[in-house]
Each structure stands twice: as C-alpha cells, then as structure tokens.
Chain length 162, copies 2
Amino acid sequence: MTLLHYRRPEESDHIRVVEAIPVWWGMPPDAAPTGLLPRLFFQHFADTSTLVEDESRRLAAFLIGFRSASRPQTAYIHFVGVAPELRRQGVARDLYERFFAMMRQQGCTRVEAITGPINRRSQSFHRGLGFTLGGDTEVDGVLAYIDYDGPGEHRVTFSRSL
Amino acid sequence: MTLLHYRRPEESDHIRVVEAIPVWWGMPPDAAPTGLLPRLFFQHFADTSTLVEDESRRLAAFLIGFRSASRPQTAYIHFVGVAPELRRQGVARDLYERFFAMMRQQGCTRVEAITGPINRRSQSFHRGLGFTLGGDTEVDGVLAYIDYDGPGEHRVTFSRSL
C-alpha cells in the first residue's frame, strides 16, 4: 500500500505535471493535451488545486480546479490525472471528494467538468460520481456538444450538484 | 471613425472569438493558438473580460483577464486581440486601462501577462504601457524563460504595478 501525501501545488510543480501527462496518458508528447494546462493554473488557482506525491516524492496524481469568478456558485474541475500504477485505488474519487467539500464550504452548489467524446473512462468515472452527462449530437458513439471548445473540439459536459 | 461598443462577453461569444484569432493573427487555423482560449474563460471569467463590437455588431476586439484566486493582489491578462483594421487606434490600450481600473478597484496592486519570444509587437506594446519584461535566456533575439508553459513553450513575462 502506497502512502500518499496531498498538498497544494506550487508554481514550480507545473513542469512535472505537464511532463507527466503524455507518459500517464500513453501518448506521444506532441499529441498530449498539455496546452490545456498552462502555468497560469499553478499561479492563480493553486489554493483550490491538489497535488499528490508518493513516499518517494514522485508525482502520483493531481487535480486542477477553481471556483468560477463569474458564477460564484459553480466550481470547475479543469484537469485531473492519476499515475497509471495508482489507478483503480480510489485516488481520483478522493481528489474529487476533497474538492467537493472545499467548494461546498466556499458556498458552491454545483460542480462542472468536461471531456472529449472518445474519453470513455472519464465519462464512466463521472457518471459513477453522480455527474449528469451533457451533449446533443452523437460523436464517436456518445452525445457531445459540437465545436464546444472551438472548431473540431467537441466535448461531453459533466454537471452535478454539491 | 468607428463607434465601438464595449460589453462583458457571453458564453455564446466564445466561438466568434476563437474563429477570429487565426484570421486576425494571419495564421492557418491549425497554427493559431486557439487552444489557449477554451470556453471556460467565457464561462468563469466573463465579469473581468471585455468584448468590443463595431456599429454593425462585428467583433472588433477582446480582452480576457481575471483576478488571481491564489494571489488576490495580482491581476492576469490572458488573451487580447484587436481586428487588423482597428489597430493603431488605441483600442488595446483602452482595453488595458479599463482592466487596470477595474482590478485596482478590486484591490489588485500588480498586473501580469506573457507572450512568446517572437511576438515583438506584444513586447513593444507592453513596454509602452510600463510593463517590465522578464526572461533569463536569449530566445529568438529576446530574453525569455525556457519551457515556461511546458516543453518548447518559451515565454517573455510582463509585470507592472497598478
């Protein structure tokens, strides 16, 4: 059993997380969605994000999330990752539940997230946590919103009350 | 003289802005940095962002910015664009000054932004507005921070007191 240490990320953790993404996702670095995680998230949303390390201080998991500034009752989970060797042990669920509790305490009543249509693992994970999946057009076999994040960037939305 | 109308962006403005970027930047859509502007900025940071339209409701300019949640005295300008036919008329400066005033009112004492080493126009614009440029390694003839936003994503930083 690995002992995990949870803490707020520092700006200097950004590079470790960005470098982990292609490895953890099993993608060539060029195809990895690292552009979705610029350093600004580690500078400006550190207080509501979590980084997890194992006993050897190796990166084990992370959750980048924030409270919406324009919709203060809404919390948003932007990016979550768990090291492949630590999957299926409830680490992501734990990160989500800690985030839910923190956001509830700040007065949020809803939490949102998104994923791509092909990311079935994420869809099933969010469904299991009680999120409602949103989409209006079949894309790759699931309902998604076309061009949600720009041309060709279709997304399945997740929403859940807190 | 074009009469410009300033307002807060709506979520539905996201697609117009994303589609304008490659056109305004004179880039093929694939090369345009639209991935830096996901819909979340229009959902969660609308109250501190501005969209400008001309008399025919055509998109004229935009500024996407927010107050840092983890560093509440810092304001961050994420993305700014002005339609090519409206450049050199002070529209970007006006957007920045409106943002500075709003952020000062909220208690911010500093404003930050970044650009790529090749974006000389942005560097000269920010210098003209009193920003200090940051970087520690020469990249494409200017000082920049290597891998600032991930591998190969070098950036020049801008910082200014408010």
